[in-house]
Structures are given as C-alpha cells and as structure tokens.
Symmetry: C2
Subunit: 198 residues, 2 copies
DNA sequence: CGATTCTTTGAAAACAGTCAATCTGTGTGG
DNA sequence: CCACACAGATTGACTGTTTTCAAAGAATCG
C-alpha cells in the first residue's frame, strides 16, 4: 500500500472522528500534506532553525526539548500518534526556534506548510474550529502541568504523570520522564523504588 | 462618568487596537457585557465553583491559584489591565474549578457569559480570530513558563521573571512572586540579596 | 501611632542533585 | 550462539540547594 495513502488514512480517521468533511475536502487536505519518516533520534527541528509547519504524528513518538548551558535536555512535551507537534512560537514570530524536536521511536509524520494549513483553516471553518479546540485543550494541559511543576514534590510529579498517561511510561526511557518532570534520572529511580515499597 | 461607559471605553480601545469594528458591533458587544468591581482580596472564582465567563480586566490585577493540602497557595497566573482571566478547563468541561481567582489590587472587570461570548465569536469573525490569537500567545507563554519551571534554578527563575515582566514585581508582594515561581518567600528573599551583591 | 502584613535573617533539617561505580537488559557482530 | 558492547537503570556517598521553623526587622495602612 502506498505509504501516503496509509498514513493519510490514519489522519482521515482522526479528522472524521472530530469533524464532518466531504470527500472533496478530504482530498484537498490530502493534496496539501506531505510525508516525513523519522528514524529514532532523527531531528524534525533543530534549535536555531525557523519552524514553518504543522506536524501530525501518525505513528511513533516525538519529543520537544531545550538544551541548557550544561548540555542537559529538558523535555517540554511529548507527542505520540494522533497528536500534533511543532514550535508555535517560532511559527508565529518567524524567530529561530529555541527547541529541538526529534523522534523517540521510529515515527511517521504528516506535514503541512503553515500557508497551506492556514488555507485549509480559511476554506474549511470546521477544520479551523477543530484546530482551535485542540489549542484550547493544549493550553489547559499546560496550565495543569505548570501547577504540577510549581506545587508537587518529585514523587508527586511522577505519580501524577503515570496516572495521567497510563502505559506511556513503559514506552520511553525513564531518563526522559525525569527530564519531562524536571528532576534527575537518579531521583526518579529512587522515587520509584520508594513508591513501590508503599 | 458612568462606570460602564468608562470601563467599556478601555475595552473598546483594546479592541480597536487589535481589530476593526463597526459602531454597531461595538455597541452589540457592549450590550452583552457587565461590570464587576472587586476589592483587594475579593474572589472572582472560588475552588469548587463552575466558571462560566470570560473576564477582561480594565484596571487592577487578579491572580489564579491553587491551594494544596498544606494550605500553601501556588499561583498559576497573574492578569492585569488589558488582559483576560478565567478557568478555561472548568468552562470547557463544566466541572468544578480547582482554581481560585481573586483580586491582588482593587480591580474592575468586564464579564461576558460564555454563551454571549460565543455568540460574539460567531457573529464577528474578526473577534473570533482575535480570541484565537490570544489563546495562541497564552499557549506559547505557558510553554516558556514550563521550560523555566523545569530547567531553571531559583535565581534564574527570579531573574527571568523580572526581565520578562519589568516593573510588575514592584506591584505585588514578593511572596506572590515566590508562589508564582514555585519557591518559598524565604528563598526568594535570599536569592534577591545575592543577586544584588553581584 | 498601633496593628497588621510582608520581608529578612539564622540555624537546622529535608530534599534533590552530583559523581562514580555497579548492575541490568538488549542487541550486534564475530 | 555466545561474548561483548552499549545504553539505561540503580545504588551509594557526598554535596549543595531549598525548605522549614522561628524570630526579628521593615513597611504599610487605617
């Protein structure tokens, strides 16, 4: 099966679960998308580059992260199949990104240039509404993450994480969970040992 | 001067700086808004209540915060004049809010019920676009705050804060800045002393 | 002023981070 | 198929930062 057809069918299922589209609209959206396959550890975006796309993940897992002066990575977000990735700030301002995005697993991504994406939003109001609803959910999730980051202890952060994303923890190295939670891998290891004892 | 007229003129100036509206549209928006004056420390929203509005601050300063089991407050966000406040999660889900919103200074707020707000969004596409642009900026700010929360030391958090919001720090108690940064007031006090020595 | 609130300071304790070594599991090439 | 290499996880000892608790010192406001 043509990979574009297969990948797009995943996106199509995603769209149809959220909004109603005519076959012509679907075909139009499809015509404006293109595929990118990423091997594990391959970059989708590197710090310093300008991000100009909207990326929908059909399979796999990506991470968005910063690297500090000491070379430590801090994961801002994960994005798995049926979710979006990108740097909205770089996209909006045109400034070079301060984030890196790379593949945690071999992944397949559907890309839209920003101008094509905006075209779709203008032409298909339901699509625009969907995009705004996603943004709203993303914002709410961010608020909750901020609350966890400034209120919780290391243990609470971990327990909250596995409760919120059950199953996901087994899919990625623990050191990445630590990086996402803002603690060291060693601390996470100790916290896990103590939690299981209870 | 009628307080509604005065307050609305602030909102009107805000709107006209962002979008173009006809006098009739402005009048329509005005007719769907209502005033709330808040004395310092007065609640706009209490934990457990369902939030059903969109609040635009014309003067003053509000804070959104959680209270943990120990009774400690954790500030999720500040909102000053010409900015918005509310709990999008409670609004979207209809669930009781886990946040409190109260006035840090005597404040004046313009309120729209969610249904009236959505009506305006539907009737005036430019207004809807403006709302989405604000949401986008809010999301970007949240991402940056998450990055600071998981990457920075206490001192870096403070320096980043005063750099990002110059002047604002003098407007609120330092203990609230500490609460916003996720550190204790004592630590902030010490960090400030050390920073000024340098 | 006096009362309240906020900030600063000190000393001790708790927590998380660092560095280094060991252990575990996985996958690859000989 | 085994042995090895590698990446990731764990553990220990130590260090450093931040918190906690308590008290004293400013600042603010009625």
């Amino acid at each position: 099966m043509d990979p574009l057809i297969k990948m797009f069918s995943i996106f199509e299922a995603y769209l149809q679960q959220k909004i109603t589209l005519t076959p012509a609209e679907l075909e139009h959206i499809k015509s404006l998308s293109f595929i990118k396959k990423l091997r594990k550890k391959q970059y989708l975006l590197q710090e310093g580059d300008v991000w100009k796309y909207h990326a929908f993940i059909t399979t796999g897992c990506l991470r968005t992260y910063t690297v500090d002066e000491k070379g430590l990575e801090h994961i801002i977000s994960f994005a798995i199949e049926n979710w979006w990735a990108g740097d909205k700030e770089s996209l909006l301002t045109g400034e070079p990104s301060k984030f890196n995005i790379d593949a945690v697993e071999d992944s397949e991504v559907l890309l839209f240039t920003n101008s094509n994406f905006e075209l779709i939003c203008r032409e298909i109001p339901a699509f625009n509404n969907m995009v705004n609803a996603i943004l709203q959910k993303s914002f709410i999730a961010s608020q909750n993450r901020i609350n966890a980051a400034i209120s919780y202890t290391a243990e609470e952060k971990y327990l909250n994480f596995i409760h919120k994303y059950p199953g996901f923890a087994t899919r990625i190295p623990q050191s990445m969970i630590a990086s996402y939670l803002g603690i060291t891998p060693e601390t996470l290891s100790r916290v896990r040992n103590q939690s299981t004892k209870k």
